[in-house]
Subunit: 430 residues, 3 copies
């Protein structure tokens, strides 16, 4: 029994609940191609699908030659992108990749939702690449199926918070998902493997770091569990508006952030929208022109927390924008405002450093992504994927192994790996 989730997470569906009834989760990710292909969408929906039951999953639909219910978004993948996407899915834990459609349709709404075969029903460039990849899988499939992935970082996803914020939107430029995506993307592009956790999850302690997009709707119980997570040594990163309403979307009549106040180490009574972005005083994260916060500014008064950044403004300048609080054995880092991507990355990598989770994966070329997994034989695999039209060259820093895609050619620790455009290596440790 399966169900194909279309572009999860979609807050109109409670995929977490649905997944309880499924034998295996399936997802239909449709992603950017050509210059917009960077593995993001496939990995994001893969991380989410894998986290629903902590199992492998299926890709039941994904881009054939092009997609669209008109002919405005026809972007056939560049050479190599069909194949690279298959391995992107597998390296996230997928056990199957299936296309929609097999052949392009000749009339109706999905005339331009193209297949592996075009309208002429003759083998063409897309068919040739899919066929080559399929033959490759026939050979190395047993080594890369049923992969197990163990991450140290999780994102807490609350669809109730999405809906609560939508009811009382704080901006036309930002919302629950822009913050969640920004946090996930900062981790993805830093090559940090991420799971998702849910308000109902009982495994918070499996993770060294939990990242919390605006948790606008939450019960006291959930907030207390997050507070305990910190007390017991966890590192929590919490975005603005968290703790504001209870599970009935009713604002708490307490100093904010409500039950998180002790773990957060501050309180606030007021907040303001920002008509124009503001700089943080003295550019505390050294990000230059990206040193800007926007849209929303909580007017934070630290109690025990250390103010990490202040607003640079005659009126708002007396309030903290970002804080960090040691609480029990752990820490709570709070973002009281909307950050630029570079600020978000700086805040998150700072917390990862504190948790001892950074290393060589953060030093790869920007377009090269690495993912790690264990296969059925208990061997460790490293996937190095090059999402760019130029070749990439970088040192291999893990224990020596063989490249499954190059006739098991050996790859030695310290040796430099060369990846062609839109190509990859899969190194299996010996």
């Amino acid at each position: 029994m399966t169900q194909d989730f279309a572009s999860p997470p979609r807050p109109v569906v409670n995929e977490f609940d649905v997944a309880k009834s499924l034998d295996i989760v399936a997802a239909n990710p449709y992603h950017g191609t050509q210059d917009d292909f960077d593995g993001e969408t496939s990995t994001y929906e893969g991380d989410y699908s894998r986290s629903l039951k902590h199992t492998n999953y299926l890709i039941t639909e994904t881009n054939g030659e092009a997609i669209g219910w008109d002919s405005k978004r026809q972007f056939p993948p560049y050479d190599g992108q069909f194949r690279l996407d298959v391995y992107t899915h597998i390296s996230s834990g997928a056990n199957m990749v299936e296309y929609w459609h097999w052949h392009s349709l000749h009339y109706g709404q999905e005339t331009y939702w193209k297949g592996v075969l075009g309208h002429d029903l003759q083998p063409g460039r897309p068919y040739e690449e899919v066929s080559r990849t399929a033959h490759e899988l026939q050979r190395i499939g047993p080594e890369i199926v049923d992969l197990r992935i163990k991450n140290q970082v999780a994102i807490l996803y609350s669809s109730d918070s999405y809906h609560g914020i939508e009811f009382m939107k704080f901006s036309d430029n930002a919302d629950y998902f822009t913050v969640l995506h920004q946090m996930w993307k900062a981790l993805y592009h830093a090559n940090v493997g991420v799971d998702f956790v849910f308000p109902e999850s009982t495994n918070f302690s499996d993770y060294k770091v939990i990242v919390v997009p605006p948790l606008y709707i939450a019960s006291d119980a959930l907030l207390n569990r997050l507070s305990d997570y910190v007390k017991n040594g966890g590192h929590l990163v919490v975005a603005f508006k968290s703790g504001f309403c209870n599970e009935y979307s009713t604002v708490r009549w307490q100093l904010m952030p409500g039950p998180l106040k002790d773990a957060a180490g501050f309180h606030y009574q007021e907040f303001s929208n920002l008509k124009q972005p503001l700089p943080l005083k003295d550019d505390p994260f050294h990000v230059g022109t990206d040193n800007r916060v926007s849209d929303w500014a909580e007017m934070i008064i630290p109690d025990t927390a250390k103010p990490v950044a202040y607003y640079d403004h005659p009126f708002f300048g007396k309030y903290a924008a970002i804080t960090q609080n040691q609480f029990g054995a752990g820490s709570l880092t709070y973002e009281g405002t909307v950050l630029t991507d570079k600020l978000q990355k700086a805040v998150l990598l700072g917390v990862l450093d504190r948790a001892g989770l950074t290393g060589p994966d953060q030093k790869l070329p920007p377009t090269v992504h690495v993912k790690h997994a264990q296969n059925r034989q208990g061997k460790t695999l490293h996937f190095f994927l090059n999402y760019s039209s130029t070749s990439q060259f970088f040192p291999y820093t893990y224990p020596s192994g063989v490249n499954l895609l190059a006739q098991n050619a050996s790859v030695n620790q310290g040796e430099r790996l060369l990846l062609q455009p839109w190509d990859l290596a899969i190194v299996e440790e010996k």
Copy 2:
């Protein structure tokens, strides 16, 4: 018996008629705060409310900590703005200022239409400032209640003209209210006190200058009364499209501007929209880059009127854009096109000069506004209000008195007054 008018004037309501049944007029002005607070909205709605019955009025609702039916426009006032707004209302003739809400609500549509108390129900910054202001009023209230205000300039407001123009809009950028607001703002920022008059008003002769936004809909009787006002010595400023239709929104089958033709001293048969703004020939008002007219151009052929400005254009250049006509003992100044703010100000101040209505009030720093009134004891009050985040320093030019807000410290004619950011002085003449 009262009725709280929401943001008057609102043309869907005939406030003038409603006011006849009220003991006292009440208004609910919601205004910009933070960097957008300049006293404009409070004074504009105050001028209008005061003019409905020529009496004092009540403020039954205005901004608490923030407003909005979502959380996109949360702009808590800067320190001092709560208090300055109270005196803005009083100096326009208000006898009460009341907030909406007392405390912020915890659910529903107005969750973010914040009160004097926040969601935490504890005294905070807004409460402290409202409390301080209330104690001040307890002390000086008897001196500043029931103020009488006597202005020499009025604006003729015709809601029928608004509706007639909306039915046959002449621009997406300008309409009846953009012109009315532009005229009112030019006078407000020149510190010229303004009343409103109505088509039904019988007190035109109380004013030395009457300013007429596009009077598109008007009976012959009204136009004849305006013509008589000029003949008897009044100075009339009239915007384009005035006189075009009768009271049934039917275009007059006469040379335009219909019954105003003799007082105006010109006629026109044609008009054109302007795709691009045009300069006036030779920059007659010396406003440099603001020497532009736009949207609408009546092709005016002067009869007895003096052409004050011509369009600078190969085709339109033969027609006048602005004219002035001496008619009987008064004058009619006509604007046949949409002016920039600086041109509007230049035209209006020219007419005020002609009417002997300019003086030291026009020489104050731009962010300082002055208003004059008589109190119940017959004493003359001068309110000096500083709408800015910087201190202001300027000479006091009226007869010596005392500053009611500074323990009645004396203020001598010729002495320089210092106002702190978002602060004010109320000088009561001896």
Copy 3:
């Protein structure tokens, strides 16, 4: 029996079928005035109306003083434009010009859809010009009525293709009509007389060049007739997406462009939208910054065709963008992408050169248009029309004649003609 077509062609009406039941075609062209008057709209709708029955036609409505269902588009014509528009119509084959309205209305939806007389019902500038033109026609009318116009170039108009493309739009910036208009305008501004032909037309062989906007919907029979037209010596210019669907809007399951494949001399299996415009490699038409294609890119693989232009791009660079194929006695030029106006003009003028259809008419000043016709007396007329606010001066290169609008003053071959702003000459050969 007539019917006034509003702004033809309008694809919701099959004017070609309707015209079969009419004695004479009539059209209501409303066009730009003031700086937007260039004869385009009047000529375009005239070319179309004349082509419906290959006869003269009537103008039953056109701009009076101004148009609009509000007062946002009031643009009374500059001096001379009323008259120049009348001769624009006549030179395209119109036998009558009638205005809507006679006098301006005083109320209702068309209050600002002005007439020849304004609201004041008194003669004004527009009336005077219409009156002058009417008296001129009274004098020279017999020489310029019932003109016969014989063009060598036609555009194939397919309303089915418009609808098919709209159902599956390929861009928000381009559609069937943007390409058709671009092709027509390139010819108009090159002073090339154009007829329209239709899928049902049987007179393709009357034309040396037929230009085909995206013929997305077409029967095999129509495509075979176009192929035969080329084989028999015609020069065909075909835009992208032509041949894609059959007459039931069903995509052909053949290599594209389907039945046109042999005449076109290439095939394609794939196509892509373009997020950003691309240059053509090596600027083959020498148009500098206009060397850009956009929106849609067919990935053309030439068989016998000569690639005229390639995309300049790492991936698309291996495919042709524009091709030309000699097929039988004629040629087929194909545009696989959306061109800039200058590229379109270069492609079309190249084909016209090949067909021997260029000459002195392409060397006139840009704002001067020339049209040629034969009158009832069998005499050849040349209309030279100046659509600009400046005088124009150029050589007259046709056999000597007389200027009907200048008391039959003689005009000799080689002499230079001077046209005043918005003025014209009608030279009748001796």
